[in-house]
């Protein structure tokens, strides 16, 4: 899929992988709309993208809030045109330090599912229909190793990412043949604030830089046609599941 001139919406766009992806895609000529909860960080990222001449728009909103979804979809499309590529990147771990599932409060699991699963579901509902009618579009769910491996302490997050992967497969099946493609991408372990929150003792030297992962994801997007819709793709290039 062509990145140049594409209208791209990235949730969780103010830091970590979202910020790196916004920069990378804007550098290639995409019109990028970043969604993030924190306006100040978002402004910094927008400045970073615009300074060298990139086109970026920002919307301060919480994807876990149902009433925010059509304002997000409407403003993005008004500013950057109908969305061609939707990157569902925003996610939360829930309370840190991470807790065993049996020690997780019900409300904390609900909040994680709102942000990591229900929010993406609502955004796909708001955005993907127009893609399917135009006969083209790409929806990417940013997944995790925790979606397929059961790690003690990663309960809420792992459950939400496994469900996100499956949701992408079901959307892929239902929209088969319409020209819209759904992919889950596992970015691997990255040196981000979220990783530090989850594993404060990890050696950053052993982790990928979000900028490098963003470049690999751009490569996957450029060659999205090589992947079957509904696939789970490893950004490390190890393979497709």
């Amino acid at each position: 899929m062509e990145i140049r001139d594409a209208s791209v919406m990235i949730t969780g766009g103010s830091r970590g992988l979202g910020r790196a992806l916004g920069n990378a895609m804007a550098r290639e000529g995409a019109r990028v709309t970043l969604i993030a909860r924190h306006g100040e960080e978002l402004d910094k990222t927008l400045f970073e993208i615009r300074a060298p001449g990139g086109e970026a728009h920002g919307i301060a909103a919480d994807v876990g809030d149902k009433s925010a979804i059509y304002p997000i979809a409407g403003q993005s499309a008004a500013l950057a045109g109908p969305i061609d590529i939707l990157v569902l990147n925003a996610s939360t771990l829930g309370p840190v330090p991470l807790r065993l599932l049996m020690d997780t409060e019900c409300e904390d699991l609900e909040r994680v599912l709102q942000v990591n699963l229900i929010g993406p579901f609502r955004l796909v509902k708001a955005v993907a229909g127009a893609m399917a009618l135009r006969g083209r579009g790409l929806v990417i769910g940013i997944s995790s190793d925790a979606a397929v491996e059961a790690y003690a302490g990663w309960g809420s997050y792992g459950i939400s990412k496994a469900a996100l992967d499956h949701m992408m497969r079901i959307f892929a099946k239902e929209f088969e043949g319409t020209g819209i493609q759904f992919l889950s991408i596992d970015p691997g372990e990255m040196d981000t604030r979220m990783h530090a929150d989850a594993m404060p003792d990890a050696d950053p030297a052993t982790l990928s830089r979000p900028e490098d992962v963003a470049d690999r994801i751009c490569d996957i997007i450029r060659h999205a046609g090589d992947f079957q819709t509904g696939s789970r793709v490893l950004a490390s290039g190890v393979g497709v599941l």
Partner: protein
């Protein structure tokens, strides 16, 4: 016709009145039956405009309240708008006290930091004004979504939120009221049509206000509306017509975009953006659209007059009487009607 008082759940749980525009006969069906009435090779064209929160509460310089309903974007910060008297959605607009008259230069306040200046008052109606916001681009869109609400309807049972006024294929927020004919289309129906070989295509038409409650202003509606027709839609329509398929418009906004475009290009379609002032009446001969999926509105409304371009008035009135007798629901969230030539293309 009894109005539907709330959005349907699921959205396609609507009745469908199917009227053969050639034979004048009609039959009762349900929305999910739609694929049964279309053939492989037909094309359904929808308006993919999302509905923006076009209703804003403003404070006049005198301190009096009023409602502004955005009508159409002129340029970035500048919009054409209708000025309505104060009052919430529970009071029909025609029963509200009229708003204070405004003049160019007046500043209408939405919040401490968001204001609009009146730059023009239409010579056709003192309630039709052009305003310029003190914000533009990203900041204005953020403000519109923060302070605006969807246009409300007094016959509804509850406040209408932004979720309830979007079609399942909404894209850019160009419509100030929901393109309601598409409201009852679900992906279950759209994918069933696709499997049957019925083509799907979209265009974007900036649907304006349907009514304001002011007789003089309503007589001017619909005002000029902008549209954009993608190249792929022009190609799909041309290929449908060449192979004898029927072009079915979902809603009068699609009719206005396609026929308005054709009227400007000697009967042919051209891709890209345009502005149309075309008003369709019974004497209008559609050149592009063969059939129409639409809502059910009162015969006294302008919408009904438009339908007479597609079907004989006697047949329409007979079908409408039947629909009213057996309890079809009207207005924005009501039941649907499919008018098309059943025996072949026009």
């Amino acid at each position: 016709m009894i109005p539907a008082r709330e959005p349907r759940t699921p959205r396609d749980a609507a009745r469908l009145l199917v009227l053969d525009s050639e034979g004048g006969t009609f039959e009762d069906a349900l929305m999910p039956d739609l694929p049964r009435f279309l053939r492989a090779g037909d094309l359904l064209v929808v308006n993919d405009a999302a509905t923006l929160p076009a209703s804003l509460r403003v404070r006049m310089p005198s301190g009096a309240g009023a409602e502004i309903r955005l009508q159409s974007q002129v340029e970035d910060s500048t919009w054409r708008a209708a000025l309505l008297g104060a009052g919430d959605w529970r009071t029909p607009t025609e029963l509200r006290d009229p708003p204070e008259g405004v003049a160019p230069g007046w500043v209408l306040r939405i919040s401490e930091s968001l204001v609009m200046e009146v730059v023009e008052v239409s010579p056709d109606s003192p309630r039709l004004i052009t305003v310029r916001f003190n914000r533009g681009g990203e900041d204005l869109w953020t403000a519109l979504y923060a302070y605006g609400k969807p246009v409300q309807y007094s016959y509804l049972a509850a406040d209408l939120d932004l979720w309830s006024v979007q079609t399942v294929y909404a894209a850019r927020p160009w419509a100030v009221e929901m393109p309601s004919a598409g409201e009852a289309l679900s992906w279950r129906i759209l994918l069933a049509l696709r499997r049957k070989g019925v083509g799907l295509a979209s265009l974007t038409h900036a649907a304006g206000l349907s009514a304001t409650g002011d007789e003089d202003l309503d007589a001017l509606l619909p005002l000029a509306e902008r549209f954009e027709i993608p190249e792929s839609t022009v190609e799909a329509i041309e290929s449908t017509r060449a192979s004898g398929g029927r072009v079915v418009a979902v809603g009068t906004t699609v009719v206005r975009a396609l026929e308005g475009c054709a009227a400007q290009h000697s009967g042919n379609l051209s891709n890209g953006r345009g502005l149309t002032e075309l008003v369709i009446t019974k004497d209008f001969s559609p050149r592009i659209v063969d059939g129409l999926l639409t809502g059910i509105h009162e015969p006294s409304q302008s919408h009904f007059r438009l339908l007479r371009a597609f079907a004989d008035e006697i047949a329409l009135r007979r079908a409408w009487r039947h629909a009213a007798e057996i309890g079809y629901l009207g207005h924005e969230f009501g039941d649907a009607c499919l008018i098309l030539p059943c025996s072949g293309p026009l």
